[in-house]
């Protein structure tokens, strides 16, 4: 994967540095070479324009533009399928005002429902109930953050982990099995053991892909996609077979409920669904940040991702590093699987326990620029979409699938910054650079 374009991972770090140094250089040039009698107002204006330019060409601006565009497309879809809008459009020339009222009702209604479901619900009684949607957002964000970290970490090592679905399924099964299969353990120990089993399950499933890549050179994308389906059918078999994962006395492909001793306890008490899985996800963010930026192992991961040949020359065992990256990535996705079974769906899980999070994680990692803090922010954003989408479906009748559309559009737009820049007429960061700096940046990108 090393020879692939690095474009889809817009990392703010390296882009920022040339911009900063450019600013510094101009500062120096201005102070030393500028004529003494230069108009102070014009200088301020120039600096303001320059600062604006900096902001406009920053990757985060592109990300904001991409989100805005995607939400716009979503609005159009909501409006076009709303009966009030279509019927008002039928007599547009007779009473044009009606159409705009209907449009406002439809789109405004949908997005205000989204907001009420995701952040703050002013219609509820008392602050504790009003803020509940925000905790739901964090709840939905928990597996997204953990799985997003798994994808992002693999990304940084030059591996595309498409196998989140399979890793989550295996992790959920492992955690679930320890949850209801092992009895007699005290609260706390049982939970930890179940979480550890989930992490191990995810790590093993991703490790297969890493091992195959390291030993045979099989492309990890194909291998992880195939492992997704194998896990899907394997878990379906386990859930449908009495004595394995199926709930005793039931004929449905469903596992028994997770006992209280293995559950992740609530974080804010009985009133909220938010559980300790969120803390686990936050800890994973810190761990990945430490791993990537402060540990020698993380340095090896990144070195392999940047240039495997150079890494090998530098004495890094590339195949073994690939296996290790996939093990850690799978373990992170495993946290997501464990938190689903031990925190989110404790009444017994089915074959859809992954809830599409394996694929959402790819979009989270991309939006987060494969950087742990970015993944945290992106995970919370998409968690808000999920929480709000459910509320939107319930109160406005807008199908939840709109969230999928908006989410994938965001990633598509982010992956192609030139497109977003062209639509919003944003400046290209490369264009402002001096030829020398542009050459340097290009060399870095290559």
């Amino acid at each position: 994967m090393s020879h692939q374009s690095q474009e889809p991972t817009p990392e703010p770090g390296p882009e920022k540095e040339p911009g900063l140094s450019e600013e510094l250089e101009q500062e120096v040039a201005r102070e030393s070479g500028a004529p003494a009698g230069l108009d102070a107002g014009e200088d301020t204006a120039d600096r303001l324009a320059h600062a604006l330019q900096q902001t406009m060409s920053h990757p985060w601006t592109v990300a904001a533009g991409a989100i805005l565009l995607a939400v716009l497309v979503g609005s159009v879809m909501i409006a076009f399928t709303d009966e009030r809008v279509t019927s008002a459009a039928g007599y547009f020339f007779a009473r044009p005002g009606d159409l705009f009222t209907a449009l406002g009702d439809s789109i405004g209604g949908a997005y205000s429902a989204l907001f009420r479901g995701a952040v703050f619900n002013p219609r509820a009684d008392g602050f504790a109930a009003q803020i509940r949607p925000l905790t739901e957002t964090f709840n939905y964000a928990t597996p997204l953050i953990a799985a997003g970290l798994g994808v992002a970490l693999a990304f940084r090592a030059g591996l595309l982990n498409i196998g989140g679905q399979g890793q989550m399924l295996i992790a959920a099964s492992a955690a679930g099995w320890v949850g209801f299969g092992v009895t007699g353990l005290p609260f706390g120990v049982h939970t930890l053991l179940a979480v550890a089993a989930g992490i191990a399950g995810g790590a093993v499933w991703a490790g297969i892909a890493g091992l195959l890549k390291a030993r045979t050179g099989a492309h990890e994308v194909i291998v992880t996609i195939m492992l997704n389906w194998i896990a899907f059918y394997l878990v379906a078999y386990l859930l449908a077979t009495p004595g394995l994962l199926q709930a005793p006395g039931s004929s449905n492909p469903k596992a028994p409920p997770t006992p209280a001793s293995a559950q992740l306890p609530g974080l804010l008490g009985e009133r909220y669904n938010l559980h300790w899985g969120f803390v686990l996800a936050l800890a994973a963010v810190v761990f990945v940040w430490w791993l990537l930026n402060r540990s020698s192992q993380g340095f090896a991961f990144r070195a392999v991702g940047e240039n495997p040949r150079a890494a090998r020359v530098a004495g890094i065992d590339v195949p073994w590093t690939t296996v290790k990256v996939m093990l850690v990535a799978g373990g992170l996705v495993g946290i997501a699987g464990a938190s689903q079974v031990l925190g989110q769906v404790t009444t017994g899980f089915g074959g859809d326990i992954d809830a599409g999070i394996g694929f959402d994680a790819i979009t989270v990692a991309l939006l987060g620029g494969s950087n742990p803090w970015g993944v945290l922010a992106a995970g919370i954003l998409f968690g808000a979409f999920k929480a709000g989408g459910t509320a939107m479906q319930a109160s406005e009748g807008v199908p939840n699938d709109i969230v999928l559309v908006v989410q994938s559009l965001i990633v598509l737009f982010i992956a192609a910054p030139p497109l977003v820049r062209a639509i919003f007429r944003l400046p290209d960061p490369d264009r402002r650079r001096t030829p020398r700096e542009a050459r340097k940046a290009r060399k870095e990108a290559a």
């Binding site: 474009e7 399928t81 291998v223 195939m226 807008v398 199908p399 559009l409 992956a415």
Partner: protein, 434 residues
Amino acid sequence: MSAAVEAPDMPGTPSDGVEKRQVTQVGWKAAGGLIVIAALFALLLVAAPRDGATKFALSRGSDALQIPLLEIPAMPLAWSCLVLMALIAAISVARTLANRTTSIWAIAAFGALFLVGFLAWAGAGSSGTLSIVSLLSGSLLGAVPLIYGSLSGVIGERSGVINIAIEGQMLAAAFTAAIAGSVTGSPFAGLFAAVLAGMLVALVLALFTVTHRVNQIIVGVVLNVLVLGLTSFFYTQVLVPNAATLNTAPRFGSWTIPLLSDIPVIGPVLFDQAPLIYLMYLVVAGVSFALYRTRWGLRLRAVGEHPKAADTVGVNVERTRYLALLIGGACAGLGGAFYTTVAIDKFGLNMTAGAGFIALAAMIFGKWDPVRAALAGLLFGFASNLQNVLSVVGSPVPSQFMLMVPYVVTLFAVAGLVGRSRPPAANGQPYVKG
């Protein structure tokens, strides 16, 4: 399932008049694989013997030529199949010792024997009959979207663009075919709309991967999610409330070809089908011819192997890739049309259900070659259909394991255990001119 280490048979390699030096040692993969399969089968027969006879039906009630029901004692048949399998495995070992490859026909015969033996074992003592015709024609029907989809992958990837979006192309095509067919009342209109939808998804893929040089796998994955979201959204919002007018598609009837369809067993399987299936025979042959025997195909493959070289001699890399993706999109569109113009008369949520990924697997297992990919598609279609037939006779094999087969086989294929799958050299790499 060619397991032999083959001499490089890349099309275009001069093989006549040039002295060939045999440098590769014949590997043990073929012989070893055969021994392992035979041993596993023997273990199955010893560990779980089943009493009774198996009834094989070789013709349908409506056929002109009736073949009586074959009722064969199950275990003797299974054991004789095993003996013959062991014989082939022994010959393969002897040939490997003499540094000669195992013939593909021997492996095919081995596979067929294994199948007959396994069916005999699985259907033993059941009151139901194993209808060979419905097993085979079901496999062919199940393979239609896989084959069209894998062709989409083959054409795109031969030009150097990884196409993970086959699933999305097919889902979009199935969706539009249902609407267009329902509105116009003609399955041909549905087919046409499906082709356009497949091409539209391909166009987006091309725009992002070829023009904007975004990572091809990411765009493919995201497009799948996007199409799933779009079709689900519009299905719930538009198709469900207007099911009678927008989601009641006409279907192709089967076109019986006279004479050919009267051939026992294979006649009704191959020549009593919907026109989309006949079109498939032509498309597979056409794509294979176009890739290997035309100037366009040579250029396309050159772009996929070494775009810089192709560019140097004047081939427009970007245009070639755009065209390849669009043609591939049209193929996937035909595959998606299968769902709503042949299989069933209405669109359902996520109705392709992963077929695009099996198509991808078929393409890899078929080593990026249209005919082999089609054969792999048939094999995978057979594997999923076998499970349906076995559930009729009440077989002891869990259905989930039969459904898992294509993916496991592909995993082995990419890992190099069964043959060696090598993608085009420039697959996945955006081309930057200069």
